[in-house]
Structures are given as C-alpha cells and as structure tokens.
Amino acid sequence: MPDVAAFLMRTHGRTRFDWTDWVSYAYLFTGLFLMFGPVLWIVMSSFKTQAALSEFPPSFLPEGQKTVQIKGQEGRSPLFVVKMPDGTTRELAEIRRMGLMATMVDPAKPDEEIQVNINDRTKTREIRIATENYTQLFGRFAFGRYLWNSVFITVVATLITLLFNSMAAFALSKYKFAGQKAVFLLIIATLMIPPTIVLVPNFLVISNLGLLNSLWGVIWPAVATPTGVFLLRQYMLTIPDELLDAARMDHASEWQIYWRIVLPLTAPALAVLAIFSVMWRWNDFLWPLIVLSRSELFTLQLALNSFQGELQTEWNYLLAMTVITIIPVTLVFAFLQKHITTGIAASGVK
C-alpha cells in the first residue's frame, strides 16, 4: 500500500509541489471528472427509486424520502420534520395535502390529525438503495433474452472476425502473389467509405439473403473489418519467414502453419482486435436497429432505446440496464488489456 500511495502522490519537484505538478494534477483531475463523472452519476442514479430520480435538485447519493405505513392508509406515507407553532419539532407523516396546507399525523398516534403549512416542514431523508431496479429487471422485461442476443452477437461476431481477418492478414503478409498490393490497398481503401453509405446496399444484400430479423444478419456484415486485417497484417509481418520455412521443412501444411505457428504468435494483436471487436459489436446500434425489428431479437442497446416510451420512461430501470450494459465492455477491456501488456512484455524479451 505505501507504494501505491507513493505512486499516486508522486511529484515532479522531488520534495515539494512544483508548478508543473499543479498543472498536471489539475489536468488529470479535469480529465477524470469529465470521463468518469457521468459514469459514476449513472451508477449512483441506477440505485435511486423512481421518486428520487424525479426529485429536484438532484442528489448525488441514492437518497429518498423516508416513508411509513400508517394504519388506515393505503400505501406508505412520506415522513416530514415539522416545526410546530410552539417552536418544537416533530416527525409527522403526510396523509393528505390540499394546496399549501397538509394534513399530517404522528405515526405513533394515527387518529390525531394536524394541519401543517407546507412551508413549515422539511422532508426526512434517508439513504435508500433501490436494488429492486436490478432484481426486477429480469422479470419485468425479457432482459435475459436481450442479454443473450447481445452476448451471442458479440461472441460469435468476434470469433468470426478474428478467424477471417487473421486468414486474410496471413495471406497478405506471408504469400507473394500477383495483385497482392492491389488487394491490400482495396481492403484499406474501404476504411474511407463511411458506414452510412453502405447501409442501404448492405440492407438490400441482407434482405435478399433472407437474414432480416436474424442475429446472423447482424453478424455477417460486421465480420470483415479492414482495420482488423490491417492490424493483424502489420503484426504478422514481424514474424520471421524462417519460422514458416522451418515449419514447411517440418512437413507442416499451409493450414497447420497458419493455425499452429502464425496464429499463436499473433496472440497479442488478436487480443487487441478482440477488444475492438467486442466493443464495436456490443455497442453497435444503427445496424441492429435496421436488421432487427422483432423485440425478442433485440440486443441490449435496442432494448435500451425501446425503453424510452412515447408517454413515459421508467428511468430507474433504464439506468440499471445501462449500467449492466456497460459492465461487460469494461470487464473485457480490463481483462484483455492486461493480456496485451504481458504479450508485449513477453515478445520484447528476446
């Protein structure tokens, strides 16, 4: 722990705070606030009740008004601290309100009604973590279904992306053939075409193949990525050709060379592409929105969108779902990032 503290408190001017320290810390904290603030706010808000969410001014912590069950009343009544005319304060529950006057009772003596001006009272607040936002998600919506759709698309598309892109990269980096450069340039050139331009042609292709309203209709157009081919090709160029020659002398077929020699050695680059692909597919919105119109095929992103009803939006569930949507990408990144650094470290040691 002292090491961590020392690391975090590190300064440029050895013993005291240099002006560069002030600048860099200010810069870093601004960045942290800008990047992490909204995420933190969403996480905190996802634990608020529907009522707490609509409160103004909003609070950072998931607080809510304390409520009690009063005998003879339907539902729970909100609690207030009331300043009595004699100067004392009492905690009373509101049972009715008409204009500026509220009818309140002491929870201990539910029969004795007291008229209170609403200016003389303040809400009794408590920390209330609304875990039901999460627990009820699964029952209330076909949440499991959406999650499965998202996971299926992400995992399958990523696996196919890695396979196809690495095969293309292998051919482009390790074989000499006529038009090799042209093919590579063509692939790279597609980077310049904005996705929205190919939206309609893609839709026509998918529609004619009968893949509309199918998860495969989301997966297939996404698996061939020029970025992936480029990334893997550049990495594979660094694998010495002598290794391939050695494998050929070892009676390995070209597929075995690809599968058993080149692919394992490309692992660090594959990890990077896997991260990209998972993030792309998981966060993808526009294309699934076009291909998938039946709600049982919705991904989480589409479901999130459909939650915003025309008349009312259940913000507490929407926020909880948003948090769940963020978690996998965050985990994948955190986990594979470590893999990348170790990969780089391992290949760096010669």
């Binding site: 020659d245 050695a246 050929r248 002398m249 050695l265």
Partner: protein
C-alpha cells in the same frame, strides 16, 4: 544414406541472375560445405536444394530421382537455420515433436525419438523450457535436435554457427563433426567462414557471384587453387599477392621481375615446359604467409628486403606485416615461436620458389602456375 546431384542449376530473381550453371555432387554421407563471400548465392542454393525456393533452370536429383517439383515437406530433408527458427511459443519438446506429429508418428515413438536425440545433444533437462529461456548454444542444439528426430536423408545447415561467440563456435563445430561421424548422413553446410569449411567438410564448393569457382577437398583447394579468388579465400591469413612482370622463359624456367624489385635479379620458377607465357605479360605471384619466412643473412631462396609495418606476437607463432613498395597490399609473413622484430625495421623476406602460385592479372582467370603443379 542418400545422394544428391545438382545439374546446371540456374536462378534468377527478375532480371538479376543469382546462380548460374551450378553443378555439385554430394555422395553418400558426404559433408559438403558451400562457402563464399556474402551475396554469392550460397544460401539461395541451399534453399533451392531444400525446396523452399524453386530454381529457374537445371535439375535437382535426390537418390536418382528428379525432385524439382517435389515440395520442401516431401523431400525428406531437414534444415538448421541461421536464426535457428525455433517456434517461440512451443517448448523444446514441442519444437522437436512438431515435425513428427505432422507426419503422423505415434506418440510413444515421438517420445522415444526425442528422448534419444535429447540425450545425444544433452537437452534432457531442457525439454520443458521455451526457446527464450535458452542460451545461444542450447538453441542451436534444439535446432539440430529438431532436424535429427526426423531421420532426414540429408541435413542442410544455413550458417548455423554465425550467431554464436567464438568459443562456443569452436565447441559446436566439434559437436557437428562428431554428429556427422555418428549419423553418417550427408550434410550440406553453408558458411562464409573458410575456417569452418576447411575444418569440417569432406568437400568444399567455393562460390562467387553465383558461380562455382572450385570444388574439391579442403587440401586440394589449399594446395591447388584454380584461380586467384580461391587462393585468396582459402587459408588464413590470406595469401600474399605481389604484382610481377614476366622477364623471360627458357625451357622449364620462368623468370619474374617482382614489382618494386625490378633491379634485383628475377625470381626464377620452374614450370611445366608446355606452359608458355609471353614475355612482358603482367602476372600476380601468390605466396602464403606460412610459406614465406624472414631470413637473417643469406638464403638459398629468393629474398626481398621489406619494411616492417606491424608485428603480431601470438606466443606460439606470429606474423610480420611488411609494406610492399608501390602496392597497397601488405606482405604477411608467419614466424614460429617468438621474435624480436620491431615495427619500422627492415627485414629480408624469403619467398621459396616451390611455394609460389602465378596468376594472370585478369579477374577470375585460371591459374597459370600452381605450386603443387610443379
């Protein structure tokens, strides 16, 4: 036990001709070294033999069968690469097993083969390590082990020792020689180091600029180099070359006036009476440092006075580097034991006529008079 014949091998990369008209025979169990300066095409030739590179012309005949169109995998040869080319993500065991697995060898057999090879190469304790955890010499052994386990028809070595330090190189050299004697399998060994070629090979093929300059046993090349290039390439330190002019020829005697020593009586060599060289022709006289010697007083051999530029004392023997007048070449003379010659002094260097080679000054032209031809 296999034989290999290369017949009229040609190789071009686009416009550049890398190899031309290469003819080499490798007899059963023979150790052949392909040697030459860098860029002479020796590695390309090895890759053509291995099947990794197609030849543009000519035939490769393995055990009497033309194998030009047989893939590298199916030729049954094994290659040890300069960079060792060990698979970095596999353990030593997996590296050696890879080739056997590919040909569908049963597991127990793989184990016993690797066990035997590992024992022979002292790799038993390293089988579970990865190549990055091995020293240069160990990696080299693994690369050789990987070649051995497949019982190849021929071993191909591509400058296998060039990445090792001097001491390890000598040690590995001895190990490869021992291995060759034990396995009795033919080996083709590419190197740019003539010492390696001389010490290891049964037969040396000297290549330059894609052409075979001379083929022969190490001593044949040493004693009877066919041209000035081979003469300079084989032997260490290299042969001394002195410009000369033919002063006259009578019968078996050829008189040469050495450049810078024209006022001395000419150097008289005995030659084959059939050899006739025009008077006044420019030639180059070659004599090896170990054949020339420093004399005090008079000698029966032809002597020239030279100024000493540098003396190398190695203890057991040493070398005197002298300036040749009117030439950029130094004249290196070996001496036995230790010596008291100092740089800057004048010495008399004796050139025994029987040890002289005479070359035409034209580049690559055949030798005119070879020492052992007399």
């Amino acid at each position: 036990m296999s034989t290999l014949q290369l017949k009229k091998i040609d190789k071009r990369f686009g416009e550049t001709q890398v190899l031309r008209d290469i003819n080499v025979d490798v007899a059963e169990g023979e150790f052949v070294a392909l040697v030459g300066p860098s860029g002479c095409g020796k590695s390309t030739l090895l890759r053509i033999i291995s099947g990794l590179e197609p030849s543009t012309g000519g035939d490769i005949v393995l055990d009497g069968k033309r194998v030009n169109d047989v893939s590298a995998a199916d030729r049954g040869l094994a290659m040890v690469f300069q960079s060792y080319a060990l698979y970095p993500h596999m353990t030593v065991y997996q590296n050696m097993a890879f080739g056997l697995e590919n040909v569908g060898t049963p597991k127990p057999e793989i184990e016993s083969k690797i066990g035997a090879a590992a024992k022979m190469l002292q790799l038993d304790k390293l089988l579970q390590r990865r190549p990055t955890q091995l020293s240069g010499g160990q990696r080299q052994r693994v690369a050789i082990g990987r070649a051995i386990v497949r019982n190849p028809k021929l071993f191909l070595f591509d400058e296998p020792l060039s990445n090792l330090d001097a001491e390890l190189r000598v040690q590995m050299r001895a190990e490869i020689i021992a291995l060759h004697q034990r396995l009795e399998t033919g080996m083709i060994y590419v190197t740019h180091d003539q010492v390696e070629a001389m010490t290891m090979a049964d037969k040396i093929v000297v290549l330059r600029a894609g052409k075979v300059e001379q083929t022969g046993s190490p001593l044949e090349l040493y004693n009877r180099p066919q041209n000035q290039f081979v003469a300079g390439f084989i032997g260490s330190p290299r042969m001394n070359f002195i410009d000369a002019t033919v002063a006259g020829q009578s019968g078996n005697a050829l008189d040469l006036a050495l450049s810078g020593f024209e006022n001395q009586p000419p150097l008289r060599l005995s030659v084959d009476s059939a050899a006739s060289i025009a008077q006044g022709a420019k030639v180059t006289v070659g004599v090896r440092p170990e054949h020339a010697y420093v004399v005090e007083g008079s000698s029966s051999d032809y002597t020239i006075p030279l100024k000493v530029a540098q003396v190398e004392q190695l203890g057991g023997h040493g070398f005197v580097h002298c300036n040749l007048p009117g030439s950029e070449n130094a004249m290196v003379v070996q001496f036995d034991g230790q010596n008291v010659i100092h740089a800057g002094s004048e010495v008399n260097v004796a050139i025994p006529a029987a040890a002289c080679h005479v070359f035409s000054t034209a580049e690559g032209a055949p030798v005119l008079v070879s020492a052992s031809a007399r």
